[in-house]
Structures are given as structure tokens and as C-alpha cells.
């Protein structure tokens, strides 16, 4: 019985993240607009965009094969599965033992892989360029992610998300330990790269030559585009939830009482909102990096991960 409730809550929280994702992006855009001294679109604007895209026809190149049609579903599916694994409200989840943080990262890589193929499929040079760049960035961010995971796992004794969150809940002072802080910094940089935010990629660019993610999806329209966009917003939200609940897990429910769940919902929302505003402020402050400076940024992230792991050596 408990298992069924657990699975229900698991699916419920995945739905919550799924429905929340457009609002998170809307919030970032709104804060950015305000920081540009504009009124900006309301926070719920992305929902309207999704609704519109689902109601539009599609135009598909005759060169495209079934890969082009399948890619948006694969991207969306993997991201949804990932959101099933992340502790949003409760920890540990019933799915805790199904996939750990490595599996989560590789699931996201599967989505990237599929979208890169989708970009190559219509034979457009923009799509090829986007795919090539996206895979470059994805490949180079892997080592930094792995080291960040390693450092978290060393502290928690497990690579599974439930144990990681539980350990910080149990031992609050650990949240300030250098391994923890440095791993957070490393993961944050990688998150910016993986989700195509500034300074790695500009989500609002119109210039093909500077595009990464946008160039890959230039051929998509209608419901496919809606899925791809939604998946990328969902990925961002999942990363934010992950960052919030792995590094500052207080508020997560450890029992299934309504009160605990309500606290968990509020605290997670607040944490994600804070991170979203932080991203907006960061994006106002910094400019996009040239593509060939991105590896350097990822090298910074790698070194941070290395330091995070190394900091655990001396306490032994």
C-alpha cells in the first residue's frame, strides 16, 4: 500500500515539475526584462507559447527521416524520466534504487544525443553546426560532472540521490564543507553549459553563428518544437531542483504526512525561485563567451570538481 502511495507521489511530483517548468523560465525572463528596465512578459507567458505551438501545423523537410520525428519524443521522455528520479518533495523516493546520479546524467546525455541526430537529419548546415557544438560542450562537461558526483558520493557513501540528500539533512554543517560548496560551484557551471544558458549559449539569440541549442532545433515546428522547448525548460528546472535539494535539502519531507509535504512544496518552490533569480541576475551581468572559451570555463568546473574531491582526502 505504501509502495503505491509512494509511486503516486513520485509521479505527482514529476508532474509538478513538468507543470512548473514553463513558469521557472517565465520567471527568469521576467526578472531579466525588469533588469533591462523593461516591463517584460508575464511569468505565465511560456504556457501560452506551448499552447500556441501545440495548435500549429508542422512543416517538415522532405530530407528528414523518422529520426527527426522521434527525437523530440526521446528528449522529452528522457527528461521526464529524469524528473521522476529527482527528490522534489520527499526523500528517499521509491525509485531511489532504480537510477543514481550517473544514470541521471547519462539519461540526459541520451536526450542530447537524440536531439543532435535530429539536428543533423534535415541536412541543414545550421543543424549540423548546432549538433556539433552541442556534442562538443556535452562531451567536455562530462568529466566535471563526474568529479562533482564523485565528491558528493564520497561524502554520502552513495551515488544515489536519496542517500545524498539524507546525509545533508542529517548533518547540516556538512552543507558548508568545502567539498560540498566546491561541488556545487562545479555543478552550477556545468548546469549553465548543459541547459544552454549564458555565458555558454544565449537562449534568446537570433544570430545563427552564435547559436548552439537554438541552431539544432531550427527545423522543428509545431508540436515537435513545443516538446523540444518544454523538455529544455524541464531540464533546466530539474537541474535547479537538483541543485537546491542536493546541496540545501532542508524542507524535504521524509514522511508522507500532508504537513511535511506542504512544507516541502513551499521550500522547494522558494529554493528554485531563488536560483532562477540568481541565474537571471548572472545573465544580466555577464556576456556570452566565444565558443572556444567554453572549454576553459568547463576546465574551471573540472578543477573545482577536482578540488572538491581532493578536500575529502585530508580528512581521512
Amino acid at each position: 500500500m505504501i509502495a503505491i502511495t509512494g509511486v503516486a507521489i513520485e509521479i505527482g511530483q514529476a508532474l509538478l515539475v513538468l507543470l512548473l517548468a514553463p513558469a521557472v523560465v517565465g520567471l527568469i525572463r521576467w526578472v531579466k526584462a525588469r533588469l533591462q528596465n523593461r516591463r517584460g512578459a508575464p511569468v505565465w507567458q511560456p504556457y501560452a507559447e506551448l499552447r500556441k505551438l501545440f495548435g500549429k501545423d508542422m512543416v517538415v523537410s522532405p530530407n528528414a527521416s523518422w529520426i527527426f520525428h522521434a527525437a523530440p519524443f526521446v528528449v522529452f521522455g528522457t527528461t521526464v524520466v529524469v524528473s521522476l528520479l529527482v527528490p522534489v518533495l520527499i526523500t528517499p523516493l521509491p525509485f531511489n534504487d532504480v537510477a543514481d546520479l550517473f544514470a541521471l546524467v547519462y539519461l540526459l546525455l541520451l536526450g542530447t544525443f537524440a536531439l543532435a541526430l535530429g539536428g543533423l537529419d534535415p541536412g541543414s548546415s545550421f543543424g549540423g553546426m548546432g549538433s556539433s557544438r552541442e556534442m562538443t560542450i556535452a562531451a567536455l562537461s562530462e568529466p566535471a560532472i563526474a568529479l562533482a558526483i564523485l565528491s558528493l558520493a564520497l561524502a554520502a557513501g552513495s551515488t544515489n540521490l536519496g542517500e545524498m540528500a539524507a546525509r545533508t539533512v542529517a548533518n547540516p554543517s556538512a552543507a558548508l564543507s568545502p567539498g560540498h560548496v566546491l561541488a556545487f560551484a562545479a555543478l552550477f557551471i556545468v548546469m549553465l553549459a548543459e541547459t544552454g544558458r549564458l555565458p555558454v549559449d544565449n537562449p534568446a539569440t537570433h544570430l545563427e553563428l552564435t547559436m548552439v541549442h537554438e541552431a539544432m532545433i531550427l527545423e522543428y515546428s509545431g508540436r515537435h518544437l513545443a516538446l523540444v522547448e518544454w523538455a529544455s525548460w524541464l531540464k533546466l528546472t530539474v537541474f535547479l531542483v537538483l541543485a537546491a535539494n542536493l546541496f540545501v535539502p532542508w524542507g524535504l519531507a521524509t514522511s508522507l504526512t500532508p504537513g511535511a509535504l506542504a512544507i516541502a512544496a513551499i521550500s522547494t518552490l522558494a529554493k528554485v525561485a531563488v536560483l532562477a533569480v540568481a541565474i537571471a541576475i548572472l545573465e544580466t551581468r555577464i556576456a556570452k563567451l566565444r565558443l572556444f572559451r567554453v572549454p576553459e570555463l568547463l576546465a574551471v568546473s573540472f578543477v573545482l570538481g577536482l578540488l572538491a574531491v581532493a578536500s575529502s582526502f585530508s580528512v581521512r
Binding site: 525588469r34 528596465n37 516591463r39 501560452a48 499552447r51 500556441k52 501545423d57 512543416v59 537570433h206
Partner: protein, 172 residues
């Protein structure tokens, strides 16, 4: 950090839309109610320069700035006609741009709107009769709304787009 100090000092720069002389915006075709309902809140704009002198482009650039801020109406520019709902076409259609313009129109998924901006886009303006131009925009693709002016002000262009969406009153 100076950036943020300046942001605070300036405050919100966006202005309300002024009233527009009635004859500057002409609705050429009936705009499909479905399109209006569907695209009312979120419209992606693809700008096509069919041979303009770039005067209109200068004005269009103003749209995304803080003063006119088209994003508050849920409008934004996109990089591909595949993503677009509305084509913002400027200039007389030159012979070289005739095919690309039609291709852009074909590449835009339905339902879609076309707004012709500037006198040239309406009737070729000063370029009328030149051997190098094909004609106004509606000689090549069906136009929904025309915005007059040489060049039209950003506010007028914005009104034109909103007219096309059947939302003249501009919410805020």
C-alpha cells in the same frame, strides 16, 4: 556592480502605446478568428527584409528595446520561420528576394499572419516602377495588415502587429 546601480537608477523605461492616426494601419484581409484566438498571447515574429533601405529595420530594432518592449505583449523575434507565427516584411520585393520571400512564407507553419511594414512594402514607395522590384509584398504573398509610413514609428508598427492579432487596445 555599476550595472546594477544604473539599472536601479533608471527604473522601468517602457512607455504606454500612444494613440495612432487611424489611416496609418490598414487591415487588408479578414483575419481568421481561429488565428486570432490561437495567437493572441504568444506570437513569434520572423522579420523578412525583402529589399528595404533598412530605414524600417532601424525602427523595428527599437521594438525590442526597453521603451517599446514588444515582449510585454507576448511577442518575440525568432531565428527561423519554422518557429514563427507572423512575418514582418519590409521593403519593396526585389527580384532577388521574391523566391526567398515565398520560401519563407511556405516554411512558416499555419496559422500564420503577414504584416507589411512601410510604404515600400505597400506599393513600392519611391521604388515603384523600377526594373528591379516585383511589386509590393502582397504581389508575392497574402498580406493581412499594412503599416504605412516612411519609415513608420516603432509604436505604429507595434499597433499594426497588435491589430493583426485583433487586439488593438494593447492590454497595458
Amino acid at each position: 556592480m555599476n550595472v546594477f546601480r544604473k539599472i536601479l537608477r533608471v527604473g522601468i523605461a517602457t512607455e504606454d502605446l500612444p494613440a495612432v492616426p487611424p489611416d496609418t494601419i490598414a487591415v487588408v484581409r479578414d483575419i481568421d478568428a481561429r488565428a486570432r484566438r490561437l495567437l493572441g498571447r504568444a506570437v513569434a515574429i520572423r522579420q523578412v527584409d525583402a529589399g528595404s533601405c533598412n530605414g524600417c529595420e532601424l525602427e523595428i530594432t527599437g521594438l525590442s528595446g526597453p521603451v517599446y518592449d514588444l515582449e510585454r505583449f507576448g511577442l518575440h523575434f525568432v531565428a527561423s520561420p519554422r518557429h514563427a507565427d507572423l512575418l514582418l516584411v519590409t521593403g519593396p520585393v526585389t527580384r532577388n528576394m521574391e523566391v526567398p520571400l515565398r520560401k519563407t512564407w511556405e516554411a512558416t507553419p499555419d496559422p500564420k499572419l503577414v504584416v507589411a511594414v512601410g510604404d515600400c512594402a505597400r506599393d513600392c514607395g519611391v521604388f515603384a516602377g523600377s526594373y528591379a522590384v516585383v511589386g509590393g509584398v502582397d504581389a508575392v504573398i497574402p498580406v493581412d495588415v499594412t503599416v504605412r509610413g516612411c519609415p513608420p514609428e516603432p509604436a505604429v508598427i507595434l499597433q499594426g502587429i497588435l491589430t493583426a492579432l485583433g487586439r488593438l487596445e494593447g492590454r497595458r
